[in-house]
């Protein structure tokens, strides 16, 4: 029985925490809260050197993980990135890397995966037309065309597409769901940065209008992408849960500290029992979220038989707990929490965006209910 990070994973977290404290602390977000891009490419490249994009890629493409459970390594990293609300494309980079590592041919891995792992090229992931998680919401069609396919349609909530060097696009071909690689810039691809509640990250609407894709930029045979899409969704959800748990952890620390420091009625507000009990409840939710995220990562890493249930559990619980914790933390902070200059609202905004992206809680809950129904026989 070991349900904790091992020594190497702890070391990875420490290294990453130090790196981020120096290169991308919370304060580094401030200048870019209202600009069109929040990605510092130098930090990203150096992060890639620290393994941010390497865990799910094979050694021959410059990848490599810390443990035998690369997805666990990944959420160890994700927690650290979440603590500072790191804005960059950690999630899509790893989803794309995993997809290329598992489904790309040798040339694709060499040409697309390796530069991604090295942090030289930024990948964006075009999943669905409205940001919901069902494959039925894919809104890019792939029409057979001379030497490959022609893409038309759109994807929304594409993380950092405006800064990307290439796109991995989920599209619907006559043969079925298909994954295509599109280098940028490309004729017919339009990118618009969405104006979002989350001020730390940038998501985009990407439009495709007669975009030509050659056959060697398709992953596998046209129509064969369904299993990959399912895997991508699970992976995204788990990585997001890891980032969310990190953010919860950090915000909770800030809130406990505030409760110890802030004096009202001649006492630290943290000495009032109502505040104590709320903080106790938030801690319980934090630990619950952490356990859910860790178990989901473990289940995916080891391909446990209940991995789908584990992902849906984290997908539903972590989102709601993170949102709850952020709202309550703001309340406990009182007036200062309501100011732009305090960081609490950045956590709240992040949590509200996380709540609805990559499958909202009701979507994950519905999925969990279906799996449960299949498990429960009549008595």
């Amino acid at each position: 029985m070991n349900f904790a990070y091992d020594e190497d994973q702890r070391l990875l977290k420490e290294t990453t925490r130090r790196f981020l404290e120096e290169r991308h602390p919370l304060a580094a977000l401030r200048p870019n809260l209202e600009t069109d891009t929040t990605l510092d490419r130098a930090v990203w490249r150096d992060g890639a050197q620290l393994g941010w994009t390497a865990m799910l890629a094979p050694a021959e493409n410059d990848g490599g993980s810390v443990s035998e459970q690369p997805i666990v390594d990944l959420i160890a990293l994700a927690e650290e990135l979440g603590r500072v609300l790191y804005p960059g494309p950690f999630l899509p980079a790893n989803v794309v890397a995993d997809t290329l590592a598992r489904g790309g041919d040798e040339a694709q891995r060499k040409d697309w995966l390796a530069p991604l792992v090295r942090g030289e090229r930024i990948a964006a992931w075009c999943a669905t037309g409205d940001g919901t998680a069902d494959a039925s919401a894919i809104a890019v069609t792939a029409t057979p065309a001379e030497g490959g396919m022609r893409l038309d349609g759109r994807a929304r909530w594409v993380h950092d597409a405006h800064a990307a060097d290439f796109l991995l696009v989920a599209c619907r071909a006559p043969q079925g769901e298909t994954l295509a690689l599109v280098p940028l810039p490309a004729s017919g691809v339009g990118v618009r940065v969405l104006k979002g509640l989350d001020l730390t990250r940038r998501f985009c609407e990407v439009t495709f209008s007669g975009v030509q894709v050659s056959s060697d930029a398709l992953l596998g045979a046209p129509g064969s992408a369904a299993p990959a899409l399912a895997r991508m969704g699970s992976l995204a959800s788990v990585i997001q849960a890891g980032e969310a748990v990190g953010a919860m952890e950090k915000l909770f620390e800030l809130t406990v500290q505030h409760a110890k420091d802030r004096v009202q009625f001649g006492r630290a507000i943290g000495s009032f029992q109502a505040i104590k009990h709320r903080l106790a409840d938030l801690w319980i939710e934090l630990e619950g979220a952490r356990a859910a995220a860790h178990y989901a990562a473990l289940a995916l890493a080891d391909e446990l038989s209940d991995r789908e249930q584990a992902v849906a559990t984290a997908g539903c619980y972590v989102r709601e707990a993170a949102s709850q914790l952020a709202g309550e933390s703001l309340q406990i902070h009182g007036g200062v929490g309501f100011t732009w200059e305090y960081d609490v609202h950045l956590f709240l905004r992040r949590a509200k965006a996380d709540q609805v992206l990559y499958g909202d809680p009701s979507w994950h809950a519905e999925r969990l209910c279906r799996l449960l129904e299949a498990d429960v026989k009549e008595a």
């Binding site: 409205d130 940001g131 919901t132 039925s136 929304r156 909530w157 969405l194 104006k195 979002g196 509640l197 989350d198 998501f203 609407e205 004096v263 009202q264 009625f265 001649g266 006492r267 009032f272 109502a274 505040i275 949102s323 709202g327 703001l330 309340q331 009182g334 007036g335 200062v336 929490g337 309501f338 100011t339 732009w340 200059e341 609490v344 609202h345 709240l348 509200k352 965006a353 709540q355 609805v356 992206l357 909202d360 809680p361 009701s362 979507w363 519905e366």
Partner: protein
């Protein structure tokens, strides 16, 4: 029991028509968007237009009796409120709560000078109560005033003052006697143009600037600007604060709930309109029930007020009910929109240009300000239910 509002007789149709024509003719064209809560323009030109509007309203005899000497009968008052509300135009600018304080505790000179100028829009007022270290715990305020001849010299820092950046006068609380707690606090009328007054607009989590910090550095306030007696400030303010807490939300949240229904019609969930989803229906219905009860609680408070039976727990009840329902509805509006719930004002895809996102963020002003809901619960428990008081410091 009877809570029906009597029909307005047909004889008032002409009055309503005149109000409506006046609004049509004088309604200011503002750059600021209509948003939830007590919001303040960014643009000084908007302020000028609003001042002109309030003056014109007052000159035309359409000012609300709450803030002026106008004599209106209940039907006229109702018509006025309905028409101005529908048009989204204010009847008074700034924070008018000082009016009640002056009416109850002010000198005849103060009444004669300030009250008509509040009504006419000539004077905008701000409230200088909260301090960085005295939020919910107003009695611990640290702004000091010492008597120096015919004036008090005041030093300190205030925060959460709406409209201060555009205000002519401030309704100020400062400690003038070295006593702990509520004793020794004095209420002042502060001329915001006095030397030593610095106003710094405070940006909130909404991204807008609806509040201010106000720094007071050796500010001289003439003794005749005390409201009531020195040291009586706590009594002066208690009435106005209770009014602020009790006044919110007595309408119910029908508009927001109608918004939820519309979002649920327009959004798909599992391939079908969200309004067909049982979980969505149950949630919206519970909000609707609580909104309807909010209105009934308003009847309760009005009835108790008329019978002079209001207790110390009644305003806190209304404030908690309204502010938490308001927060939850707006929060649900976001999750109901799916991914688009994470959009914000300025994005063409955002539902009603991000109205619910703004309202969700602003909702914390109601749960924190005016005495946080934690303080409200203490009031209910200790003063309403008679539970033993908490040790305080």
């Amino acid at each position: 029991m009877d809570v029906r509002v009597p029909e307005v007789p047909a004889s008032y149709d002409d009055y309503r028509r005149r109000v409506r024509e006046f609004v049509e003719a004088h309604k200011p064209a503002l750059r600021m968007k209509e948003k939830a809560g007590l919001r303040v323009p960014d643009d000084p030109e908007d302020v000028s237009k609003l001042r002109a509007w309030v003056r014109a309203l007052n000159d035309a005899g359409f000012a609300s009796p709450a803030h002026s000497e106008t004599k209106l009968d209940p039907h006229q008052t109702r018509i006025l409120n309905e028409e101005l509300g529908k048009a989204g135009v204010p009847v008074v600018l700034g924070n008018p709560l000082v009016g009640g304080a002056i009416k109850l505790f002010g000198t005849e000179q103060q009444k004669a000078f300030y009250l008509p100028r509040i009504a006419s829009g000539e004077h905008i007022w701000t409230q200088l109560f909260s301090e960085p270290a005295a939020g919910s715990d107003l009695a611990s305020l640290q702004t000091r005033g010492r008597l120096d001849g015919d004036a008090y010299v005041v030093d300190g820092q205030k925060v959460w003052s709406t409209w201060a950046q555009f205000s002519d006068y401030g309704y100020l609380l400062a400690r003038t006697e070295e006593k702990a707690g509520p004793a020794g606090i004095t209420a002042f009328i502060l001329d915001m143009k006095s030397p030593g007054v610095t106003t710094r607009p405070l940006r909130e989590i909404t991204g807008t600037t609806d509040f201010n910090e106000v720094f007071l550095d050796e500010v001289r306030i003439p003794v005749e600007n005390v409201i009531g007696q020195p040291g009586q400030g706590w009594a002066v303010t208690t009435a106005s604060l209770a009014q602020e807490r009790g006044g919110v939300g007595s309408r119910g949240a029908e508009d927001s709930i109608a918004g939820l229904v519309r979002i649920a019609r327009a959004t798909k969930r599992a391939g079908r309109p969200a309004i067909e989803d049982g979980a969505v229906r149950q949630t919206i219905a519970r909000f609707a029930a609580r909104s309807r009860i909010q209105r009934a609680l308003g009847y309760r408070v009005a009835t108790k007020a008329a019978a002079k039976e209001l207790g110390p727990a009644d305003a806190p009840l209304t404030k908690i009910w309204f502010s938490e329902l308001n927060l939850q509805i707006n929060e649900y509006a976001l999750s109901l929109q799916g991914p688009n719930g994470a959009l914000a004002e300025g994005d063409p895809l955002a539902w009603q240009d991000g109205k619910f996102q703004d309202a969700f963020l602003y909702a914390r002003a109601w749960t924190i300000a005016g005495g946080s809901n934690e303080i409200m619960r203490n009031l209910i428990a200790e003063r309403g239910l008679g539970l033993p008081r908490e040790a305080r410091g």
